[in-house]
Symmetry: C2
Amino acid sequence: MSANENRRIVLASRPEGEPKPEHFRLEKTAIPTPKDGEVLLRNLWMSLDPYMRGRMSAAKSYAKPVEIGEPMVAGTVSEVVKSNRPEYVPGDIVFSYTGWMDYAVSNGSDLRKLDPKQAPVQTALGVLGMPGMTAYLGMRNIGMPKEGETVVVAAASGPVGSFVGQYAKLKGCRVVGIAGGADKCKYLLDELGFDAAIDHRDPEMPKKLTAACPKGIDVYFENVGGKVFDAVFPLLNQFARVPVCGIIAHYNDVTPPPGPDRTGMLLGGILRRSLTMRGFIVWDFAAQSGDFYREAGQWLREGRIKYREDIVTGLENAPEAFMGLLKGKNFGKLLVKIA
Amino acid sequence: MSANENRRIVLASRPEGEPKPEHFRLEKTAIPTPKDGEVLLRNLWMSLDPYMRGRMSAAKSYAKPVEIGEPMVAGTVSEVVKSNRPEYVPGDIVFSYTGWMDYAVSNGSDLRKLDPKQAPVQTALGVLGMPGMTAYLGMRNIGMPKEGETVVVAAASGPVGSFVGQYAKLKGCRVVGIAGGADKCKYLLDELGFDAAIDHRDPEMPKKLTAACPKGIDVYFENVGGKVFDAVFPLLNQFARVPVCGIIAHYNDVTPPPGPDRTGMLLGGILRRSLTMRGFIVWDFAAQSGDFYREAGQWLREGRIKYREDIVTGLENAPEAFMGLLKGKNFGKLLVKIA
């Protein structure tokens, strides 16, 4: 990288189905100059998250899509390198949504200062950031696990799923995690203390899930969809709650799968078992973010919540890492170390 | 009917799909004799409701199925003819779940005394009974309509739907009712004061629903399913609520309809628009029944809630009337006048 070079990765075209390298383009521009009231940020860490697949599509959603030719969005942890704002000095570490790039300017309104003494700064992208908050607020407001209940979470070794399961353990629940592969399952049992772990690649997954949930399922934190949802749904108990947080198994769907159409069966299950299915994004409960930072920060310091990172080095490697994320190749919170 | 004859209609066999006359059997027995602590009831009115289709099936549900050879269940309004209990005297009018029969005995634990001066006694089966309470509690706890919001309800001229729509009008909402045929639609507009009425038999129903909901849909009270749900779902706004109360369009389904399978699309919609879909039965909110009786009773006396009855005479005509109910042939609360 030359002295005055700012790399950024833009959306080259919209994928139909699986994103491929040609849907991304690395561009080089000059490092921007902060104007009055602005700061210049150098990105240190960038988060890769499943929601970014949604932003690559033009379909109507809770957030505007990324435009063709515009940088991909991302939460980032950055160092302030120049500041024209009194509240920031060079060397400050901040969280922001700058995107897939080396440098960015900000007017300060979207920045949150981080204290490196409290926790490693990149946790602001994971366990103490949007993924952790998503798990915490979804469970607190929708899942509402009660002592003795059975909680199932898929993508359970990821930053959201692992927090969901640990949250439920703290509330006294039986926790069953679903993950891809023996290593991840071992991690759920040995490191996170889940009660059972099931490999979704196992052809007997539905049968094993049934065996792992002898009293049925009271909370299913949905971040996967697909065959995991299919296996979970018949096991949901009367009054079960399903926070719908993501459906990564469907993000690359081009057309709906063949029939039969189970919409009526789904409605019938919701009706007969008084189920609650509720979609959310973390910002739906933004008013409670202070509670999250306080409580999760304390849990982390006390070692009651653990986390795992999967670090990729170099902005240029972000597209490949992101494509792998959609296939479950990461193990833990996927981060790009930029500088 | 001879002097000591008690007719009752039992489940002769379980229907696959649509119930037919052969699934019911009229039997004659002796009028039962009340023992110590029991009362003898003569049924005056019997309610016919869609939920009874579910009880005819052996499938797991919130209530036990009716056994083959046992009388069909129903809410009834009865006259006490003999009483071995101090709190009842002959001539008292009571609500109970005796079933499809002329006479029944009760130990009193399942009876609720009715005051004929307050309202016509058969309203205990409709606007002031389970259907009205279902509408009231579903809207109060799940639909939660706010002033200015758009509320859509199907089967809107029925006892649940008409209460749902009128409840929403009382809360200041725009109310769109869906019903089968011009007469029912006219009733929604002229008698109940709905803002729009749409005939679900109209091939342009989805287009007309879209036009009737220029600001989208905030609450959809689901008691139908099928093509009405399909038309409603794309119109649901961010944070819309869907109390799932019934899916009459599916009760006779033998196999799910052909594909594509839209489960993933449904989950995607729930996720992207932060929708809440929640199934319930009226007893989920039993603790609030006192509020219903008080508030709905007052609304009825003040003429703020209207209702319509569809009366069939003779217990022997109940099976045909019930089969018609599942096809939407009734217009208003379907009642059987027994004596």
